[in-house]
Symmetry: C2
Subunit: 372 residues, 2 copies
């Protein structure tokens, strides 16, 4: 084939071609352009189907066999659907300020399911353990998973344990898959952002990525930054109670994990074929995170979060949604950060603090490996 | 606590106590007693719930919210249920005679779902890739997954890709989770084996484990042994068409993977609180597998299979079930290998070829690491 390629996943056409690699590199796990490229070129040719191509954090399924309903009822979402998602977790180190791989494995998947507006109900958990892992470490991680599952209100219903030899893993890796119910009438997805919609962010960005870096001792200074890992399903549930002009006024929900807020907004802009305009001065970043980013040369817009969400909401419902969010524990710092504009290019634009406008692109390579 | 413990998972009380280990060892991934011990002592205290405690290969779920049915209807299985299972795959090497990690990742989970009598419909797939993995290798594996998914008739609906640094994995690991529908009226589970039931095995045992060993060059001779990796859902579907005196004459289905036939039968005997009597001379083992086992000191009863199932069937339906199985590609070598006897101990007994009777215990430690 050629030795260059461009990305075209769900309209994700990128202006700059990526080099074709003959080997997997760290950037393929970034959640940014290289990950999209890998999905597009290696996975989709073999697995293409509507649920996967929808490009959301979770797949929405119709169990016609269960419900006995007509395809027409399903399409209009008059009946509940089932949401399914999966994530493997390889964060290093296993423990960091504010969380650990166990809490991450539960919250990461709970949140992906919740981002379809679903109520997460069940989790599976599969462990890959490295020979020699202290049993006490495993016990701590499992305890943490149990606590997070209880907080989220989900049940772990199936599991698996594999062991690999010393040096063939990094302590332990955890996969979780999550299953939830999308209530009847709820239509949330990356392709529903509409010009005029308001962009709400549930709180400050960058905490998780910088907390993990600090646990690695890579900051070079002591910082009081703790990860924001949280199950967001209860926050989402309160938001769904807000009514608007249309039956489902929350159009898109997504948690800006790998690749950060910038990558998440780009995905939505491209799936919905709209521009998203955000205001730099409105995006909350904690001072310690900002300081760490400045020192390390990172842009907080690209740093991972594990307890934040972006909501794209119809303008009529925006204030009510914000109010509801601010009354919840994980949404109390919610702010409006921008709006959706008409376009076909699918770009993210940012009004900078000094009044300019710049294009905010998707994360290209790998900035912070193994933060989730 | 103490430094010794006995296992008691779903009645899995073992006569010989296992040493308590302070670290994870390879035996914890065997699928045998050490795996059960780990589940019992580390996982269940934090995750206990009826679906998990049922101890089947997949969990059966009731989506009351979807179906709007009463708990009573659900308990009597008058309505369909949802079956869910997960497995991570760490087989080494990635390719071996008859299959590869991709085919394994699809078939392993498809089969676990099918063992509840469910029709597998959807899979998730999550990849942990080692930096430096040749892209060609990944492409081969994904191609193989696509082929296996097509054969099984399942759709891959959600995925995830993570990359870890060189030396932190062994090429790639794949997790799959599977979702299927258990038709109304079907009641299959490890606790349903009943005295008088007939034990059917779908074909010769040990092919997969020995094929993987041969790919590792551990046999020391050239052997024409290919893995039996296959999706068994179509075989199961034909079996479900057999009617008997009770509405669901197939009482238990299980695929004897890690730990082999001996471990699987022990699990069933203990879950159902029955004895299972098998006849050594009736258990099919291919000559090349038998030769390899004799040379290496392995017992084929403990060697893993990836395309075989054990069915525990009411005596009235046994012959019809066997007939149906033999007319399918993956069941053409099916045989009756034993019967279920009354007991409370939950043991597996074997009439040996020379006329004696011996207890066949669950696999204790680790015989063949990383065969799935």
């Amino acid at each position: 084939m050629e030795n260059e390629s461009s990305i075209d996943l769900q309209g994700l056409a990128c202006p700059v071609p990526l080099p074709h690699t003959k080997q997997v590199v760290m950037g393929h796990g970034s959640g940014g352009r290289m990950t999209h490229d890998l999905i597009q070129k290696v996975f989709l040719p073999h697995f293409s189907n509507p649920s996967l191509l929808a490009g959301n954090d979770a797949a929405a399924l119709n169990f016609q066999a269960v419900t006995g309903t007509s395809p027409n009822e399903i399409e209009t979402r008059k009946i509940p659907q089932i949401a399914v998602s999966t994530d493997s977790h390889v964060v290093w180190p296993l423990f960091f300020p504010g969380g650990d791989i166990g809490r991450l494995a539960v919250c990461g998947t709970v949140n992906d399911v919740a981002m379809l507006g679903a109520t997460p109900l069940y989790l599976t958990a599969a462990f890959i353990l490295e020979e020699g892992l202290p049993m006490e470490t495993l016990e701590q991680v499992v305890h943490s998973m149990g606590m997070a599952a209880e907080e989220a209100g989900v049940h772990l219903i199936a599991g698996d344990t594999k062991v690999v030899q010393r040096g063939k893993a990094d302590g332990l890796y955890i996969n979780t898959a999550g299953i939830g119910i999308i209530p009847a009438g709820i239509m949330i997805g990356g392709a529903r952002a509409t010009p005029g919609d308001v962009v709400i962010l549930s709180g400050p960005v960058g905490d998780h990525g910088i907390a993990v870096l600090s646990a690695r001792g890579e900051l070079g200074f002591e910082a009081e930054i703790i990860s924001d890992i949280s199950p967001l399903n209860h926050l989402v549930k309160s938001m769904l109670a807000v009514s608007g002009e249309d039956a489902s006024p929350i159009h898109t929900l997504r948690d800006p994990t790998r690749g950060g807020l910038a990558t998440t907004l780009n995905e939505i802009a491209r799936q919905s074929q709209v521009n998203i305009l955000i205001y730099e001065e409105k995006i909350p970043v904690r001072p310690a995170v900002r300081a760490a980013c400045e020192m390390l040369g990172f842009d907080p817009l690209y740093v991972a979060n594990e307890g934040k969400l972006v909501a794209i909401v119809s303008p009529q419902a925006a204030e009510a949604t914000l109010d509801v969010m601010r009354r919840t524990h994980y949404g109390e710092e919610a702010v409006i950060i921008g709006e959706v504009r008409e376009a076909t290019a699918g770009r993210v634009l940012m009004k900078t603090a000094i009044g300019g406008t710049r294009i905010v692109d998707i994360l290209a390579g790998e900035m912070l490996p193994r933060i989730c």
